[in-house]
Amino acid sequence: MTLLLRRPEVTPVAGAIAVWAFFAVIAGDTGFLTAQGTANYMEVAAQLGIITIAITLLMIAGEFDLSVGSMLGAAGVLMAYPVVELGWPLWAGIAFAFLGAAIVGAINGLLVIRTALPSFIVTLAALFILRGVTIAFTHDVTGGATQVGGVEQATAGSFWHSALAGELFGLPAAVYWWLALTLVATVLLAKTRFGNWIFGAGGDPDAAAKLGVPVARVKVILFVLTAMAATLVAAIGVLVNGAADVQQGQLKEFQAITAAVIGGTLLTGGYGTVVGAAFGALIFGMVSQGIFFTGADADWFQAFLGAMLLSAVLVNRYFRRHAQER
C-alpha cells in the first residue's frame, strides 16, 4: 500500500476517475458519456497534453516556460503564412515553423543559463515579445487582419493534413500524438541517461554538475523541445481550424503548468511524471468540456479548475511527505 501511494501518478489517476464519475452522474444523460462527448474532451486534453509533456520535463529540470502559448500563436503564423501566401508545400511550412521554434527555444534556454535569471522572468518577457511580434507581423502582411486563412484549400488531401488533423476510430489525430509522445517521454525519463540528468538538473543543479551532468545542455534542449511541442499543437490547431489566429494559444502556458502540477509535478523541480501529467491534462479536458454538458454556466469552469489545482497540490504533498517518512 505504501509502495502504491508512493507512486506520484496515484493522485491524478484517482482524480481523473473522480472527475469522470462526477460528470457521468451529473451529465451522463446529456451527452458526456457519448462517443462525441468523449472525443470532445479527449481532443482538448490531447492538445493541452502534448504541451504539458514538454512543460513537465522542463519543470522536473527546474525551469518554467511561460512563452509556450505565444509560441503556439507564432508557430501557427510561421507555418500558415508561407503555405497560403507563398505557395510552399505543407511539410515545408511545418518544418519552417519547427525551425523557428528551435531558435526561440534555444534563445530562451541560453538566456536563462547565461543571465542566471529565473526562467519565469525570461520566458514571461518572451511571452510578450513573441505575441507582439506575431500580431504586428500578421497585421502587416495581411493588411490588418488577425488571421492567416485559406489553409484548408491550400492543404486538403496532403499527407500531413490527415496525419495532424485527421481522425481514426472516432478520435482526432491529436489524441494519438499525445499518447505516443507520453509513451516516448515516459521511457525517456525512466530508462535513459538523459532522463536521469533531467531529474538531477532539477533536483540540485550544483550537485548534478559536480557529478558530471551537463546541466546547461540538458536545460537548453528541454527549452527547445518545449517550443517544438507548442509548434506541433499549433500545426494541429491550424489544420483543424483552417486558419492561423494571432491569439491562438493564449493562457496555454498556465493551463499546461496547471495540468503538470495536478499530475504531481513539483513546482520546485526534481520530481514529477509524464503519466501523471497526462492525467492532469485529461482532468483539465474533462472539466472544461464537462461543464457544458451539466447545463451549468460555463463561467464556473475556471473556479472549478482553481479548486482542483489547490486540492491536487495539497493531496500530493500529503502523500509525498508520508512516503518520505518510510
Binding site: 541517461r193 540540485d204 550537485a207 557529478l211 513539483l266 518520505q324
Partner: protein
C-alpha cells in the same frame, strides 16, 4: 619518495575580484596516504578543492595527476582522470532514488541501439557497494532523503570508489555528523587509504585529522603556513598552527 604523488598542486594562485583566495600554494598527496588539509574558515580550503576537482582552473600554477600536468575543463574531466571529490553537501539529490543518485552522470547502458539504462545491474552494484560500507538497503529505489547524514556520506564515498578513483578528496566529512557517525566516517577514510588511494581530507577538526592523517598541511589566508608529518607533530601543535599563532592558546590558558 621517487614516485610521483597521485596528485599535486604546484604554486597555485586564484583570485576572485580583488580577493586572493589562494596565494602560491603547493600540496602533494602520495598514494596510500591521508593528507590532511587544515585551516580556519576562509583559509582557502574550498578554493583549493575546487581547483582539484575541476570546478574552476587556477589563475597561476599547475595541477599534476600522477606526475603529469592536467588542466581540468570540468568536474567530469577530473572524475575521468580518477580524481573524485566528496563535497560537504555530498552532491546527493534528496528526491532521487539511491540508485539514480549513485549513478547520476555515469549511468550504465546496455544494448547498441537505444542504449537504455540498465537499472537492474545498477541496483545490484549499488547494493553491493553500500553493503561494503556496512549499509544494507531494504529498497534501493527509496529516495536519498530517507537516509541519515552518515549513510549519505557512505553513499558518496562508495560512489567515488566504485568509479575507480585514485584520488579521493573529502571536504569536511565529519562536520555534520554525530560522534559515532564521525568515527565511522574516519574508519572509511582509513579503509580507502589502505586500498592504496591518495586521500585528501579537508577539515577544521584537528582531533579528527590527527586520528587518521599521515601528512598535514595548514592553510592560512590563502597560503600554506606549515607542513608536518604525523611523527613530528601533536594534536596540540596542529591546533596552534591552525589558529595562526595564539588565538586559541589565549583562550585555553588557565585562568590565574
Amino acid at each position: 619518495m621517487s614516485e610521483a604523488p597521485a596528485i599535486e598542486v604546484r604554486r597555485v594562485s586564484k583570485s576572485f575580484g580583488h580577493v586572493a583566495a589562494l596565494r602560491d600554494a603547493s600540496l602533494r598527496a602520495p598514494k596510500a596516504t591521508v593528507t590532511c588539509l587544515l585551516g580556519d574558515n576562509g583559509a582557502g580550503k574550498s578554493t583549493l578543492i575546487k581547483l582539484l576537482s575541476g570546478v574552476f582552473p587556477p589563475d597561476e600554477g599547475a595541477v599534476l595527476v600522477g606526475g603529469r600536468e592536467v588542466s581540468f575543463r570540468s568536474p567530469r574531466h577530473a572524475l575521468d582522470s580518477g580524481v573524485s571529490t566528496v563535497f560537504q553537501d555530498l552532491a546527493t539529490i534528496p528526491l532521487m532514488s539511491i540508485v539514480r543518485n549513485f549513478f547520476l552522470g555515469r549511468e550504465p547502458t546496455r544494448g547498441a541501439g537505444l542504449r537504455l539504462v540498465d537499472w537492474g545491474r545498477a541496483e545490484t552494484i549499488t547494493r553491493d557497494a553500500l553493503a561494503e560500507m556496512g549499509i544494507s538497503l531494504r529498497d534501493a529505489s527509496q529516495p536519498v532523503g530517507t537516509l541519515s547524514g552518515g549513510e549519505r556520506q557512505s553513499l558518496a564515498i562508495a560512489r567515488a570508489l566504485h568509479f575507480g578513483a585514485s584520488v579521493l578528496i573529502l571536504d569536511e566529512p565529519t562536520s555534520a555528523l554525530g560522534v559515532r557517525e564521525a568515527a565511522n566516517a574516519l574508519r572509511h577514510v582509513q579503509r580507502v587509504r589502505d586500498q592504496g588511494l591518495a586521500v585528501i581530507l579537508i577539515t577544521h577538526n584537528v582531533a579528527h585529522a590527527h586520528a587518521v592523517g599521515d601528512n598535514f598541511v595548514v592553510l592560512d589566508r590563502g597560503a600554506v603556513v606549515a607542513e608536518r608529518e604525523r611523527e613530528e607533530v601533536t594534536s596540540q601543535e596542529l591546533q596552534e598552527l591552525m589558529a595562526g599563532g595564539g588565538a586559541m592558546e589565549e583562550l585555553l590558558k588557565p585562568v590565574p
